[in-house]
Symmetry: C2
DNA sequence: CAGAATCCGTAACGATACTG
DNA sequence: CAGTATCGTTACGGATTCTG
């Protein structure tokens, strides 16, 4: 049992901070792909699908900055750069997979809830416009 | 062992979708606070700290739409509205806590990696400007 | 090949004022 | 009390062009 009634702002902030690192548009996908093994830049660019060159660069820089991936440059011609998960990155991948499992498990329930909610809102709207017209 | 080399786009998309629901600026904090029990609007507004009225409203609507919280209106004067986690919301809270635990556990390592990275970048910059001046 | 730099549109967010 | 409506700003992300 954790004392959840004790509010520790630092922890909340920490969690939020980490979540916004991982919650951006591409970080998770990149981490998951790198979970398959080290990859080169354009290799990632192809497999992540939909990511722009710019965003892949920024995402990788961010992950590198936080110590989640390493960037290794082989000074050949043409240049060759490999990205690889660090141990920290691997441990993150594990907990992200848990969240992923939850997402897949509850996908249908969420989608249906969404459908219901949108339907209800639509119904309310049409009732509204009917009373407007009257 | 999961066959991680088999790429299932639907699952990736699902995970990304869920993560962007939870990865926004306030959802997690709201869910965590609601994990302590049902709360009223302004009660949340105070405990979540930093959230604007507008964003709290939007966040709660989003969570309600996805079936993660319920919204109960007591038609008294003044009005009283209670928000409460659904079962689905509770199950999400559990996996989010796992991510939170990871965040807290690895906070220092991340911060230090960040510091190192920024230092290295700064050093490179100053070397750059020195060769510019020459 | 692996990026850096620039430009630009959208969407997220915050502050404020108003309402039932 | 619990919102809605409107406005302005900022941050995110995409497309394009250029470079070592």
């Amino acid at each position: 049992m954790s004392p959840s009634h004790i509010h520790v702002p630092t922890n909340c902030h920490t969690v939020t901070e980490i979540l916004s690192r991982v919650g951006d548009k591409w970080s998770v996908q990149v981490v998951v792909r790198l979970g398959e093994g080290p990859k080169r830049f354009n290799e990632l660019r192809r497999t992540v699908e939909g990511v722009s060159q710019r965003m892949l660069t920024l995402t990788l820089r961010g992950l590198e900055r936080d110590g989640l991936v390493t960037r290794t440059v082989y000074p050949t011609i043409p240049p060759r750069v490999e990205y690889q998960l660090t141990e920290l990155g691997c441990s993150l991948l594990k907990t992200v997979r848990a969240l992923g499992a939850w997402a897949i498990e509850n996908r249908d329930e969420i989608l249906e809830a969404r459908r219901r909610f949108d339907n209800a809102a639509e119904t309310a709207d049409s009732l509204q416009s009917r009373s407007d017209a009257a």
